[in-house]
């Protein structure tokens, strides 16, 4: 697979991400796409740790560690400061987890994009509060075990559809991406960088530790999320123009669930129910994109 990006790396070895960390891969691809003329706002999340303990930093670009709930607000401030300095070159990027995006950071994010601040907000989604010990978030999918949805109390609520929430703000660009599809991810990051205003990237990033999966399967599972329609790859321009970027093989969702420890308790019936929800969501997306089922 050849990536149409510089061979240049903007990240160092020796970071403390878990073996097989999908979030580390996501960051690596994003940096390869955006280059080093960027500033990263990093609200509390696993990546706050991966980036390195003071005085280390694994990233070759400036990073501002910020409070958990402030990804949108700090980015707005940084952008304003760059404007005052006359810096038109630097791209402002918020890099936050799903907890920091779907939940606690949502108001700051909503405020920033409502003002159409010129920045890229990236949510790397590992579907729980991983850094603090696998607590469920509103991104945790239906059916998942977490430490706060343990045993028979597994989560029986849907995952929040964050992209649609952002699309509702009518921002210039919102897209999903996945670490198993680097070309697509890189293309979308570059596209976001070329657009003025608020851009939102929702990147699927597997978590071996929190999902109870073998580290070597991070990418395989990420790919399966797309192939089963659980995590479709699509983009939305100006809140209205939907494009589905990849037509998946449409494997049954069980292919995805059976690979992961966090879903082991699910019964055939549960899986059927989930399949229905996934089919429903996919049908809805097809409708929005004006496409037909295959």
């Amino acid at each position: 697979m050849e990536l149409m990006v510089h061979d240049q790396e903007y990240m160092s070895s020796g970071h403390v991400g878990c073996p097989g960390c999908g979030a580390a891969i996501a960051m690596r691809f994003l940096l390869k796409a955006l280059g080093d003329k960027i500033i990263i706002i990093l609200p509390a999340c696993c990546w706050s740790v991966i980036a390195g303990p003071y005085p280390q930093s694994t990233l070759h670009v400036p990073v501002i560690h910020s409070a958990f709930e402030t990804g949108g607000a700090v980015a707005s401030g940084v952008k304003a400061a760059l404007d005052m300095k006359g810096d038109k070159e630097t791209t402002v990027v918020t890099w936050a987890g799903d907890g920091g995006t779907f939940d606690i950071g949502f108001q700051a994010l909503s405020g920033a994009v409502e003002r159409n601040e010129d920045f890229i907000y990236v949510c790397y989604d590992n579907e729980a509060y991983m850094n603090t010990g696998i607590q469920r978030s509103s991104s945790t999918p239906y059916g998942a075990w977490t430490t706060t949805t343990p045993g028979d109390e597994w989560k029986r609520l849907r995952k929040k559809n964050i992209v649609e929430a952002l699309v509702a703000h009518r921002i210039p660009y919102a897209a999903t991406a996945n670490i198993a599809f680097p070309e697509d991810l890189v293309r979308k990051a570059k596209k976001a960088q070329s657009i003025t205003g608020s851009k939102f990237l929702h990147i699927y990033a597997s978590c071996p530790t929190g999902w109870r999966i073998a580290s070597e399967l991070s990418i395989k599972i990420a790919r399966m999320a797309v192939q089963t329609n659980i995590f479709p790859l699509y983009e939305v321009e100006d809140g209205v123009k939907y494009t589905i970027n990849y037509r998946p093989k449409e494997y049954p969702v069980s292919e995805y669930f059976k690979l992961q420890g966090r879903f082991q308790h699910l019964t055939e019936e549960d899986l059927e129910h989930i399949q229905k929800m996934v089919d429903e969501d996919w049908a809805l997306l097809l409708r929005k994109a004006g496409e037909h089922p295959s």
């Binding site: 697979m1 070895s13 020796g14 999908g22 690596r28 280390q56 930093s57 991070s218 790919r223």
Partner: protein, 585 residues
């Protein structure tokens, strides 16, 4: 309010700033599994009797490196242009891609590369070993003898090849019909062998005492005389005038001596000779009827040949055993006994027995016998006695009391009588003789085992000569070791062929050339089982930036200072060119 806002710029920003890299954290210490590059063996190459490095050939083809791909074939097989045409390609039956959609058309790509080499007059870049003092006589310039001479020449030996016929090639020249193998193709392959210093003495028969007198002149002899005498039917009437041997008929055609064939002709037998005869009959204007004792699926002839024969109008009458032949004027009556299936032989073919009271008569104008061939002279067969005797996968070696070694190969020793098996014999014998001269007879068997492709019996000359292929793991890559997520369904190319109507009229080559485009597209379907094709997945997906590109042949290495052993690279390698092992093993 109303006043101009004053911007206060602090002298020092009172926030801590990190200035060091994380590279001082040697996260490799977390690792308990260790990934490593580990190229393995593709099943096709193990199934190829000549042990061709098919995965590599396909890979080079996709890169447009046709010369390099052709050279790669030549390391293991002197006859790409011949095998690309006439080989029954057992490789394709074992192709992993066959489980995914359809096997790679390996033979079509081989033929394409050979055609390309011919068109561009490529000179092979084979490296020869330094000259050796020993000299070897090769009896028979058929595929096994020529292959033996070729590989012996590569290993530095002087070879004299003796051929009784006026031209070299054996079955390739006098047996296989022109529509499968044009004579010009054969000749150019033979010229390449002669260019390596091999001397071929045509029109030179060798008699029985050659072996006894060889000592002094030669240090070893390779016997590749083939099977050229038809086996007898052993039924009444078989000696009647007008009943011809199939191989004699084929030989006459290849000398340009045949006339038209009229009426219906019976061809008795089920092997390749029978099919070749039947198809030649069609081309000469006759109607051919193959009469075979067992069922069609039991015929030893190659499946593709049988189905093409049927397309051309050859009829197969199965489960009929000839019992006698009578002549009535211009016609023959072939009396046949109906047979029925009664179980299975050890080789999987049907066991048969006569069906009581069911005989039939077939009236035809001519009969060809083609129930198989045997050695034309008894002494061609492997000698039973000697100081030492060794039966290998495709050859038999006899260490005579007088000290010379006689190696027997080709049809004389092989169960499957095919060109590529003959090549395998020649190669095996060449390697065995080399081991004999260097280390003695006792060392042969064990030594050769190390040069097997996968689990053998195919051998690799490249490995023997310590080429890059010798680093390959013998593990044969299975289908479920391929990461098929990286491949999309794609149909196998369809071989362009002469129209059936044209085929019936001429001996012109049936299979037509394919374009470079088509060949590349087909080669791109190949998984390259076990071989790194530089796809870069391992590099790309490493979360720890521990896969580093470099200038080595592998193109990359793993930095164990930082590799945490997550194993992603190994799983995401589409073609199993890596391995994950327990640390400290």
């Amino acid at each position: 309010m109303g006043e101009k806002a004053e911007i206060i710029i602090a002298d020092h920003l009172l926030i801590p700033r990190s200035s060091q890299s994380t590279e001082s954290n040697k996260t490799g210490s977390w690792r308990f599994l260790r990934p490593r590059y580990d190229e393995k063996t593709a099943p096709c190459s193990a199934a190829c009797p000549a042990g061709e490095d098919i995965a590599m050939i396909e890979m080079l083809t996709t890169q447009g490196l046709f010369k390099e791909a052709w050279d790669t074939i030549l390391k293991e097989n002197p006859f790409p242009a011949i095998c690309g045409r006439v080989c029954f390609h057992p490789c394709e039956r074992r192709c992993n891609r066959g489980e995914f959609d359809e096997a790679i058309a390996i033979h079509a790509i081989e033929r394409f590369l050979a055609d390309t080499a011919a068109r561009n007059e490529f000179k092979s870049s084979l490296e020869k070993q330094p000259e050796r003092k020993e000299k070897i006589a090769v009896i028979g310039a058929g595929p096994s003898g020529l292959a033996a001479a070729y590989f012996l020449a590569i290993l530095g030996y002087a070879c004299d090849v003796f051929e009784s016929m006026p031209e070299a090639g054996g079955v390739l020249r006098w047996g296989i019909p022109e529509y499968r193998l044009p004579v010009s193709v054969l000749r150019s392959e033979i010229v390449r062998i002669e260019d390596m210093g091999v001397r071929i003495y045509t029109g030179t028969s060798v008699s029985r005492d050659f072996l006894s007198n060889a000592r002094g002149e030669y240090d070893a002899v390779f016997m590749g005389c083939g099977h050229s005498r038809s086996r007898k039917l052993a039924i009444p009437g078989e000696g009647l005038e007008g009943i011809e041997e199939g191989i004699v008929f084929l030989d006459r055609i290849r000398r340009g001596e045949t006339d038209a064939v009229k009426g219906t002709v019976a061809v008795i037998g089920g092997g390749n000779t029978a099919v070749d005869v039947a198809r030649s009959v069609v081309r000469l204007g006759g109607k051919a009827l193959i009469v075979y004792r067992r069922r069609r699926q039991d015929m030893p002839a190659f499946e593709d040949e049988i189905s093409m024969a049927l397309e051309e109008g050859v009829e197969i009458r199965e489960l009929l055993a000839p019992v006698r032949i009578d002549r009535a004027g211009d016609y023959f009556t072939l009396t046949v006994q109906a047979m029925r299936v009664a179980g299975e032989e050890t080789d999987g073919r049907a066991a048969i027995e006569p069906e009581v009271d069911k005989a039939d008569e077939i009236v035809i104008q001519k009969i060809f016998k083609a129930i198989g061939e045997e050695a034309a002279e008894e002494w061609y067969n492997p000698a039973e006695r000697g100081k030492q005797r060794l039966t290998l996968g495709n050859s038999v070696l006899v260490h005579r009391d007088d000290g010379i070694v006689v190696a027997y190969g080709g049809d004389l020793t092989n169960d499957t009588k095919s060109v590529v098996h003959a090549v395998a014999s020649g190669k095996e014998a060449a390697m065995a003789l080399d081991v004999f001269f260097r280390k003695g007879f006792h060392a042969i068997q064990q030594e050769l085992a190390a040069y097997m492709v996968g689990n053998g019996p195919s051998l690799s000359m490249e490995t023997y000569m310590k080429g890059r292929r010798s680093e390959r793991n013998h593990h044969v890559v299975a289908y479920d070791e391929i990461n098929i997520d990286y491949f999309n369904l794609a149909a196998r190319i369809t071989q362009p062929r002469l129209l059936i109507d044209e085929r019936k009229k001429t001996f012109g080559e049936i299979d037509l050339k394919i374009s470079a485009n088509l060949a590349i597209r087909e080669a791109e379907r190949c998984f390259n089982c076990g071989l790194c094709n530089q796809c870069d997945n391992c590099y790309l997906f490493c979360p720890d930036l521990a896969v580093c590109r470099d200038d080595s042949l592998q193109g990359r290495h793993i930095n164990y200072d930082y590799c945490k052993g997550c194993g992603l690279c190994v799983v995401e390698c589409p073609r199993n060119a890596m391995v994950l092992e327990e640390e400290g093993q």
